[in-house]
């Protein structure tokens, strides 16, 4: 009996694990339904497909054995509370040197509020001081990459696909630098940018700024993919949904809009706050969004249903939000950083951890991937604090490898470029590819017809294009390009010259005619008509 129950329990656990890996699909195809299908071939293919997906899920569940590391959270004993444990205490009680080195402060008062970003493997860090200080470093081994002073405002910094390139939103334009701090590109199309984001799978640099234009630039080809007008004015809150590469923008009228480069209007518009939206964060599974506004609210949303899950009150307005890989929510407000655990699932009564950065204003917070570390950019520099249980303990080296060698980095760069996803594939549901178009037959037919007509018209236009070769001299071109109603000296001169030329041509033609009138002689063949001076 005991054995049996044990087995059943194990089975149950297995099932739980397997269900985690089964991919969702519309409708269900049980054995009963399969049996009802009369076409033998179809039935067998469906059976095969079902079996294959089931098999894949089971195997994936079995591979959980390989996930050796388990996340560890701070646990309080008795009436001790985790939020009372300061970084100082934590550092004192840490056993190993290495982890205690992860708690550090950089005192950089002269260059103002800092924004920061980690690479996708969490190895490198870039910081950008508002007053023009840019620095990169391998923060775990304390190796400085580059440090430059751009002598103008730096509003945001972001790593591109790896630690070789980073982008900085400066006073007027966005610049791209390489690992040595050498300016590679000046993106003139991105003007007065407040926030930048990088979509790693699409190689898209996204920016939004004072004018409220959302611009997508392909960093692999250099093409400006789209420019979208938000029509909602200045914007300085942006976050990407890592699951579907949708860009979320927070606006001053309290709305959060979801954008894809394929639509000129937002895909979704949510009224989240009554005051301006101050900060946004989305978790890496793409299910939850946290938003904070000037109305003193911190709201947690389910992005799939667009429903508000939790509603918290904040005394002072939140300046920055970040969600860690394991779902801890970091909130930066005033000089404080508060971290909430399981905030999306249940209403929390007390935070998980607290941190006070005295005498500063928090500018930007970012959880470091694959590390239990939270990076804080504030008005007095940069701080790094330990938040146990924030980072994913098991790394997937195919996805992001913190222990990457140079060779591996090169390999992964090539691979990621080969696997680059086109910007057209960015939709709310990224699994749409290959599915059946849900539009009605009539609509499809109509669209096809329109397309064909468009093609026809386009081709006609191309045919009718009148290309008069050789009659296009530089003077005429000049006149054509100039505005018609502006008449200046140069224009007049050119007009005169053109007139002269015309006259000369006319004369020449008349001369020729005169010549033609003469009876031709045998010696005519020796005359050079072109040498005639007119």
């Amino acid at each position: 009996m005991a054995n049996e129950t044990k087995e059943t329990i194990e089975e149950m656990i297995d099932n739980i694990n397997v269900t985690k890996y089964i991919r969702p699909a519309e409708g269900n195809l049980g054995t009963k339904k399969l049996k009802k299908i009369k076409k033998k071939g179809l039935r067998s293919t469906l059976e095969r497909v079902e079996k294959r997906s089931e098999d894949a899920a089971k195997k994936a569940a079995n591979y959980e054995i390989l996930l050796v590391e388990e996340p560890g959270f701070l646990e309080a004993e008795g009436i001790e509370k985790t939020f009372n444990i300061t970084q100082k205490k934590l550092k004192e009680n840490l056993g190993d040197e290495v982890t205690s080195l992860k708690i550090f402060d950089l005192d950089l008062k002269t260059f103002g509020a800092y924004s920061l970003d980690y690479t996708r493997n969490g190895r490198n860090m870039i910081i950008g001081g508002r007053k023009g200080h840019l620095a990169t470093f391998d923060w775990q081994s304390n190796k400085k990459g580059c440090e430059i002073y751009v002598k103008e405002t730096v509003r945001d910094v972001k790593w591109l696909h790896n630690e070789l390139f980073f982008a900085a939103a400066q006073k007027k334009y966005v610049f791209i630098y390489d690992q040595n701090g050498l300016e590679i590109h000046k993106l003139k199309n991105h003007i007065e940018v407040n926030k930048i984001e990088f979509l790693p799978y699409h190689f898209l640099l996204v920016s939004v700024g004072n004018a409220g234009w959302l611009k997508y630039q392909d960093t692999s080809t250099g093409k400006l993919v789209t420019e979208l007008r938000t029509k909602l004015g200045q914007c300085d809150v942006m976050a990407q949904n890592p699951w579907n590469a949708i860009i979320h923008l927070g606006h001053t009228n309290g709305t959060v809009s979801l954008w894809s480069p394929n639509m000129s209007t937002p895909l979704v518009k949510m009224l989240t706050h009554r005051g301006p939206v101050k900060a946004l964060a989305i978790d890496h599974t793409g299910t939850y969004m946290a938003s904070a506004g000037l109305d003193g609210r911190l709201k947690l949303w389910d992005v799939r249903t667009y429903k508000c899950l939790q509603d918290y009150y904040t005394r002072t307005s939140v300046s920055s939000l970040s969600i860690s890989q394991l779902g801890l929510l970091g909130v930066g407000w005033g000089p404080h950083v508060t971290v909430w655990k399981d905030a999306f699932k249940t209403k929390q009564k007390s935070p998980y951890m607290n941190h006070l950065q005295e005498g500063t204003q928090i500018q930007d917070i970012n959880f470091c991937p694959y590390e239990d570390v939270l990076g804080i950019g504030h008005s007095n520099g940069i701080s790094s604090i330990l938040i146990p249980g924030s980072g994913e303990p098991n790394i997937d080296s195919l996805e992001a490898n913190p222990f990457q060698t140079k060779k591996q980095r090169q390999e992964s760069e090539v691979h990621s470029l080969l696997d680059k996803i086109q910007p057209e594939m960015i939709t709310l549901d990224p699994t749409f590819i290959g599915k059946v178009d849900r539009a009605s037959r009539e609509m499809l037919a109509k669209e096809r017809k329109e397309e064909e007509e468009g093609l026809k018209n386009g081709s006609k236009k191309q045919e009718s294009r009148n290309r008069t070769r050789g009659k296009n001299n530089s003077l005429k071109k000049y006149l054509r390009k100039k505005q018609k109603n502006v008449i200046d000296e140069r224009k007049l001169k050119i007009q005169q010259r053109i007139e002269k030329e015309k006259e000369a041509r006319r004369k020449k033609r008349s001369n020729d005619e005169i010549d033609d009138n003469k009876p031709s002689t045998a010696l005519d063949r020796f005359t050079n008509k072109n040498r005639k001076i007119y």
């Binding site: 497909v49 895909l267 989240t272 609210r297 509603d311 006070l356």
Partner: protein, 829 residues
Amino acid sequence: MSKNESSESSESSDDENKIDKLNSFISSLDTKRKRNNDNSLENRKKKRIQERTEAYEESEYNLTTRESGSSKKKVDYQDLLGAIQEETGFSGLKQKLASLESGGNKGSYKQPLPAPLPKRIQDKLNRQAAYEETKKDINKWEPIVMQNREAEHLKFPMNPVPHYQPTNNTLTGNFQPSTNLEKEVDTALIESGAKEKDIQKFEELQLSKLSVEEIIARQKELRRMRELMFREEIKAKRIAKIKSKTYRKIKRKEREKNKLSVEQFGDKETIKEEQMKLESARAQERMSLRHKNTSKWAKQTLKYGANDKSSQHAIAEQLKKHEELKRKIHDLNSDEDSDYESSSSLLSNNDGDQKEDKGMINTVKEKVFDELASFEMKTREEEEKVIPKGILGMKFMRDAIENERKINKGLIDDFVEELENENFSGSDNDDKNNNQEKQQKIKNDDNNNNNNNKIFNGRMKIGAKKKSNSDNSNNLNNLNNLDDSDDLDNLVIEKRPVIEVINSDSKKDDKKDDKKDLQSEQNKQNNDESQNKNNSNNNEENPWLQIDTTVTSKILNHKNNKRIKSSGENKSDKLISKTKKHQLKNQIKEDDVEIDVNKTFTIITTATTTQIVDNQDKVKESKKKKKKNVTSNNNTKIDKNLSDSNNENDETIKNFVHVKNSTAFSHRELVARAFANDNVVDEFVAEKQEIIQEDEPKEKDVTLPGWGSWIGKGVKQSKQKKKVVIKPLPGEGVEAKKRQDAKLDHVIINEKRIKKTKKYLSTDIPHPFETKEQYERSLRTPIGNEWNTREVFQKMITPRVITKMGCVIDPLNVPFQTTNDYADDDNED
């Protein structure tokens, strides 16, 4: 009739004369005519030759005998050969004719052979037949073809010949020397007798040299051993099966006796010691009541320490003890019980004899000293061993522990002194009392020790310990009760007794009598308090009640602090002040309740909620402080630091509060609204409405104005005039109710089609699938190795047909046996 006769006559005519022959011939002629007449009247009629009215043009082409009216009349072969019928001697010819006539062996001739079918049809028939045949032939391939078709992967060659891998043995076994060298070596081996076979033979011979006796003896020995082992095993099994408790008990006693007897070899003292040890262990168990789950400590740990491993462990231990004790009680015949009886009797005997009594006291003292020594050893060891981690590793905690330890040490020293002095004290009764008291104290000390031990196990709860002030006073009372009645069973000792109890007890032994009354009063109060506390604990869910508790506890703590400070004062004064404070506290409590009732003052209430946490923290802090005061005044610095850090935390908590109730923060919302753009929501709603209307399917009016209607003065537009309307296509536009955001007021979802993604969608459901669901289910599992395990990935990307390079792929073999049967079955069907 006449025919029969004639036939008879014809048969018999062979033997008769020629005259008869002639006669018969004549008669036969007659009968023939007669028979023709008999056959049918019609025939007779037909035979009547009609007159020819028309003359034929006689020619060689007009030979047919035609009779007018009957086209049937043709020359029959009977007409030609009819005469032969009667003739004899034509039997051979007749037979042939008969066979011809019937078209076979028997039966009558009906119709002539049909004309051969047209070639086209004939060929078709042939083809059909051939098809059937070939179908039968081909059917035998069906199963294997089906099998291959349904297979996920096909690997060619289909049935590869397994590669032969020769083993070492086969190689050596089949070895034949071929080259010259090999042959030489072989011969050399044979000559020296070093061949494998020879060596084997030699070894066998060597083995056989052992004498028969020796072998037999060895075998016997082995057999005996096996037998013995088997018997022992069976016996053990049988014994293990016995369920009788008495049997087990007897066994156990036997075992113990054996043990004692073994020790008896040493000396009697050791036995006594052993008994004493047992006795004291039992007493300790009973005193400490570790087995009971009703103590406050147990309750607290059960409540709060559910996640703490060490506390779980402690509780488990306790439960175990309890279980043991219960078993003892129920099992009347148990040896422990009898032991107890014997020991009690022993004690009574000792009571009777004073000398013995003194000796007993001495032993107890000795024991106490031993225990103290062992405890000291332990603590020293622990000091050396354990460098506590976590919070306990922090400096202030370590200091606190150190201080506590010092106090304990001091107490122990005092106690030892007292004990030593007691040797010179007066009456026996007092002695006895004192003794019991001392024992009690020892217990207390022990508990303290336990406490310390617990600290090292990481289960220290500074706050919780000090919270139980009422418990302490209870404890005190109990101690006093103890003085009145020497009943050991009534004694209740707290799990975590607090130092002050001992302090007061040890210092103010003489004043006990004076205080009794007051203390009983206080006891009552304390009971009330504890009741209140319990109530509040029960209603912990209610945040308002929580405030009460915290406030009270705060006050309590405050009170405690004061009490400790004024430890030098007269206790009676202290108690009076206590009662006063208690009253005050009650008043405060009532005030608090009033605030609760008035829920409209949300601001205040929320403020208080924020303070709850503060208060709790402060309570904790004050407790810590209190402790420090008790122990030493040196740690004030640390206290300061702590309080600073605590203030930080307080602040953070104060500033970050979650919204509990939407109505509770209505004022906040109002404020927020005042600062926010007022028309944000209205704008949003208006925008949504606009978009909804824009997206709705609309009819398009394309009537040409003025077309088909009269114009001029006085012409009225007819209402019946048809409008030309283009109706929206199905699927064009979205109705307001069917929108994705129909039920979400705060969301606008774009319903427009994204044209750029069209190229990634399929317009129709691909071939084998019938519904969208079926098709999309087939897509759901991604194939890449980023999403799959290696095994699954490999399986998914294997091509359907795999051919080995450079391999000849033979055509399918005919699977004879099974497939033939299969084909036959099919045909039968």
